[in-house]
């Protein structure tokens, strides 16, 4: 099982994502932003950070990195892709996921633990969770407010594509308290909080993040995504 983690100039959390993948039992493969191949990985993680200094808009320049052409092709073919924080912003800029992330409504950088409700367990990244399970993981960003037009919000709600919703107070003004969404097929998931920081006892508020990685490993073992291996 090979799970790729892309490093862009300015990525911060690629090393933590690689570590989380290994701790949960898969082989982690470093992918470079300038690569024009995905090196035979079975799934891809776009990690958090500040790619290209967040210049222009968060994720806007990373979206045009050479490796993203391959990621977009693979995602369209059904490969599991997870975007965390800046990775979520990149997926939105790539139009693999609907909506966009804007500055937190209170204008402050968040660095907190948040409670999330897992509302969709049919994705390859969430199948090890229970539906409506509450998990606690870290959130750390300045531009985490999820926005989309009303038609898109209605569609996401109707199709069960709100994968994670903030429980309790809304930490950043996200519309409908949305913390993470999926594409129509469910293989592409993005969220602002950071599961890769919550995989070891003694580091972070929980080990709830492990479920993301064990989920995709189980999904790949069951065949999901393997047919589009490239």
């Amino acid at each position: 099982m090979r799970i790729g983690v892309v490093t862009f100039p300015g990525s911060l959390d690629d090393r933590d994502a690689i570590r989380a993948v290994r701790l949960c039992g898969a082989e982690a493969v470093s992918l470079w932003h300038a690569d024009d191949t995905l090196h035979d990985v079975d799934a891809v993680i776009l990690p958090g950070g500040f790619s290209y200094g967040d210049y222009l808009r968060c994720g806007a320049i990373a979206r045009f990195a050479p490796v993203m052409d391959r990621v977009i092709d693979a995602a369209t073919g059904g490969m599991p892709v997870l975007g965390i924080c800046n990775g979520f912003q990149i997926l939105c800029e790539s139009h693999l996921l609907p909506g966009a992330l804007i500055r937190n409504d209170h204008r402050l950088f968040n660095c907190i633990d948040v409670r999330l409700v897992v509302e969709n367990t049919a994705t390859p990244w969430t199948r090890d969770f229970g539906r409506w399970q509450e998990i606690t993981i870290a959130l750390k960003n300045g531009e985490g407010g999820y926005v989309a037009d009303q038609r898109t919000l209605d569609m996401l709600e109707a199709e069960g594509r709100v994968v994670f919703r903030y429980a309790g107070s809304n930490p950043n003004g996200s519309y409908n308290a949305i913390a993470g969404v999926s594409n129509e097929r469910g293989n592409v998931v993005g969220l602002m909080p950071h599961p890769e920081h919550c995989v070891e006892e003694g580091f972070g508020p929980s080990t709830d993040g492990r479920g993301f990685f064990t989920s995709v490993i189980a999904a790949l073992a069951a065949g999901t995504g393997l047919e589009v291996r490239q």
Partner: protein, 100 residues
């Protein structure tokens, strides 16, 4: 050397926390008649020679694909600035209304 000016604004329905922060600071300076501030972006693109229709078409394409995110922003104008070498000061081309 010609210049093309691209203006991008957040869509009206998208919250603008930066604009709100500016709006809240204005009364402290005595500007108490301003009721709202929306903050946008201006890009100045430089090309060799005079700005051509082809240059403008490329600028509109770039504005849609990279300079703005159509999910949250509108390209409100793409226009050529008159070349400095002609001494003209007026703007040469009307707004494009590219994504309006």
């Amino acid at each position: 050397m010609g210049r093309i000016v691209v203006d991008v604004m957040l869509k009206p329905e998208i919250l603008d926390p930066q604009g709100q922060a500016v709006a809240r600071a204005l009364p402290r300076l005595g500007f108490d008649h301003i009721t709202e501030v929306r903050q946008g972006k201006r890009f100045v693109l430089t090309v060799d020679g005079e700005v051509t229709e082809d240059d403008l078409a490329q600028a509109r394409d770039a504005a849609e694909r990279l300079l703005s995110n159509p999910v949250i922003e509108d390209v409100v104008s793409v226009r050529a600035e008159a070349s400095a070498t002609t001494g003209a000061t007026s703007e040469a081309s009307a707004t494009s209304g590219a994504s309006a």
